[in-house]
Symmetry: C2
Subunit: 423 residues, 2 copies
Amino acid sequence: MSIKPYILGGAQTDFQRNWTKEGKTFVSMFREIVEDGLAAVGLDYDEIKRLNKENRVGVFVGNFDAEQYANQGHLGAFLTEVHPAFYGVPGGRYEAACASGSVALDAAGTKIRAGDYDVCIIVGLEVMKTVNSAVGGDFLGTAAYYEKEAKGIEFPFPKLFGKLADVIVERNSHVKEDRIMEGFAEISRINYDNAKTNPRAQTRSWFMNKEHANTRGGDYNMAVGGRLAITDCSQVTDGAALMVIASPEYAKEFAKKSGKKLESMSVLKGWGHRVAPMQFVNKVAESKGNDYILPWTRQAVKDAYDRAGLDIDQMDVIETHDCFTSSEYAAISAFGITKPGEEHQAIEDGTIARTGKKPINPSGGLIGAGHPVGASGVRMALDIHKQVTGQAGGYQVEGSKNGIMLNIGGSATTNMTFVIGQE
Amino acid sequence: MSIKPYILGGAQTDFQRNWTKEGKTFVSMFREIVEDGLAAVGLDYDEIKRLNKENRVGVFVGNFDAEQYANQGHLGAFLTEVHPAFYGVPGGRYEAACASGSVALDAAGTKIRAGDYDVCIIVGLEVMKTVNSAVGGDFLGTAAYYEKEAKGIEFPFPKLFGKLADVIVERNSHVKEDRIMEGFAEISRINYDNAKTNPRAQTRSWFMNKEHANTRGGDYNMAVGGRLAITDCSQVTDGAALMVIASPEYAKEFAKKSGKKLESMSVLKGWGHRVAPMQFVNKVAESKGNDYILPWTRQAVKDAYDRAGLDIDQMDVIETHDCFTSSEYAAISAFGITKPGEEHQAIEDGTIARTGKKPINPSGGLIGAGHPVGASGVRMALDIHKQVTGQAGGYQVEGSKNGIMLNIGGSATTNMTFVIGQE
């Protein structure tokens, strides 16, 4: 990529919060995340007004399904409800199921690279606790092919990713099933443990250990989808994340004016975006005989590396889309950490642990930190930004210079990746 | 704009069709529009495969609310259900209420201008006749601020644009109210008459004349929102539109290889995108004292002219968002056809008629041609493309070289414009 957008910073809400219980709606969430995010960056409303006079600032909202969860569309226009400084600022809403935040970030990055805007504000947002879990599970089914894969099925997504677990077991006949299932349990344990160091993680005060994660079925860890149990799943979460990106010229000028160090900023070095067949059965049929179970996920990773001119060797930290333990398991080889079929080794030898060579999800990931669907892509990008600029606090992976994130929508249908690093 | 994306062509479905009555879903609609659209352009699946190998083709789906109308999200991935050539092709869904198609087109155009892709396929799509009109009216309410402007209100949008009619009457005290209301009726008549020459228009066989359009209230032309009656409204429509755009290099090469004339293609010369305050009351409060009732609509038009280096003088044809007659009325001055407050003159003296100097909606517009919400932006752009390349058939405005379109979302909240013309 020629022009590399700068990440100025951002914020996320506390993913432990239940906004409905607080008596608050998505509009309150917009207000809080915009105020917190702009304050974190040091961008004030006067500057937004100045930029808007010249049509040099845009808003990009990633959201999966406020239509159903909150009976509201047109979220790209809701920053005008937060502050009049946003009157006139272009905005849109971007959706690709659980990869909605990434599609918004990609659209924003493209605007910067095309030279259209100097500053883009990306907000990923989802309120999910407005309904009970059965209804919410049905809403989530619209991220798959609803009529064929979700209608009338209780909790369709655990079942789809349970099928991914099945395929992982089937195609890895050289590895004992118990070893794979223990790998899933260890993935869960690591994510929960990491989350305990993240002050905004949903599960930071929840109990988890590997033994519990490996005891599937029964009353204490109910089976939810084939081989997978509750401990293999990310949980229903309310939350939002905001990130501000800018053109290199603006970023440098902004650093000078605001007294910020340029080292507090990172750059978007590469991106990948690949869409696999919508239906999970078609994914499995297409990937038969391929080294990778999810070849388009691998391709999206490779595209981001290629655009960045980097590879797994230069990645110091990784955030991946562990909606379920099986999706993180399959991602290990997609990132190039191991060859396909050797994923279990990277779990067993500590490679993906916080202190390992290729730490995955120091934030806690979706399982530990939480998964407010439309916000996850933005939250992941923000966490990699924090890591490579040394601002991740308690979950900092020391010395990180470059990282990659993978955000998926549906049953690994939309695959989006970003390589983010020090300039 | 430095690089100007080329429009290779496209297609739209027959907006008279009721897909639910045909026993067909949005998936059938995707299939038909993709097959028709690619055939119209002359782009085959082998070429899409070739482009995708190099990651040079992307898909952009504009859709307002399939979550509610069709219980389905993640529409950006549905072209993989049409044909395996789309396996791996990046795709996303873009939403800004009734301006969703334009947001998709803008994202696609930006990708071309940033040099990311050679070819972008934009599909605008909405199935609306899956529910009855009361339920559908409630769904449409999510394009406004649902909780404050739509909840519990029967047909909220006719009422919102009825309020726009009120403001037009109030702020034009120098014009007799009857004259304004007759102007609205004439707008309706023109759109219906134009639609009769468009073989894909929803109302092409419907009855309308000015006398009927001006008889509001009563059994034959029911009042639906303050001063507005049924004849002032666009109707619930099922439909889709597809457009293919490309980089200048690709377009020229494609013309050579396919034996197409370069004159059958047009270029995206400029765009505008402005978001006004979400709530209609805030729009009215903000524009108090301004020459324009909808200043951000005007600004979006001006931005497109400026980027194109053109003005109203060079516009030979216009497509505007006449969701209601009041929105077309207000757009007349926004386009610069008249000064604010003189809109009625352009209606009365025939300026906006098909044979006038600044013909608006030769296609029939939303009132005549139909308004499948997520498709409208793409359909408008396609119609301007057809006009400036002499391919509009029965509704051709002879000698058109340049045109502009205005697509709005919500109560003129999101405003998107494109200037399209001959290279």
